[in-house]
Subunit: 159 residues, 2 copies
Amino acid sequence: MRNCIVLPLLLIALAAPQPARAQDLTQQLVKLERGALDRWSKGDTGGYMDLYTDDVSYFDPFTDKRVEGKAAMIERYKPFDGKFSIARYEILNPVVIASGEIATLSFNLVNYNPGPDGKEKVLNRWNCTEIYRRTKGQWMIAHSHWSFTTPEFKTPQSP
Amino acid sequence: MRNCIVLPLLLIALAAPQPARAQDLTQQLVKLERGALDRWSKGDTGGYMDLYTDDVSYFDPFTDKRVEGKAAMIERYKPFDGKFSIARYEILNPVVIASGEIATLSFNLVNYNPGPDGKEKVLNRWNCTEIYRRTKGQWMIAHSHWSFTTPEFKTPQSP
């Protein structure tokens, strides 16, 4: 009799966990992102460098073309190490799209620092898309795209 | 004897095509992107709308948060339909990262239009990351991130 109960339960367990797995993966990737951002907020760029694959590619508003490879990323960010800080950040609406060994995470990020009056002020707002790739069971960032959310341009731009 | 030759050849065929498949997939996704951009260049936003999944999410420099869903994208772009044109565009360095039913495509895009003197002039430069998802054999865009390449900001910004 025991097997008659176990099998249906097993089938339910196999059929049901899709949303739970997606939620778990979102939590897992957000945790990795928070780990890197916690260090970043203290001016330590190494958290992200540790997450990048050797062949990572990268866009931000200051790169004149896609940056290719971890070595180029380290060279790019080394000069900033220890030279900035962020008092608080918020990750908004993280969403994961995943299949096989790829999981993409997109979210908005808001950074805060104290203003001249000491009150908390928005430092900047970002759009972020991360492409994580799982290698030997470890999720690492293989492509990263950061851009400002509705920045003010010097001359008007249109879509 | 025939099988003794066929089997090793089959094993070689199964083991070898990884780079060829990656190249094929890059060509396939760039073709889809070109199809949408060819229509876009004539002021027809429908090419991209046809490529978006119902649950597409989207970032560009003019969205105050991630846009969610194809219906919201159609509402967003309908007002621009037929009101712009691009004389020529270039897709630079397309790179694909793929696994399972997900393939991400990133590239730089340069758009050109004639300047006041009639000579070709850069209209704008974009960083683009597309996340394609395959459903029923068809690759469609499930997430899209567009940002300007090194835009001039009204006030100085830093990474």
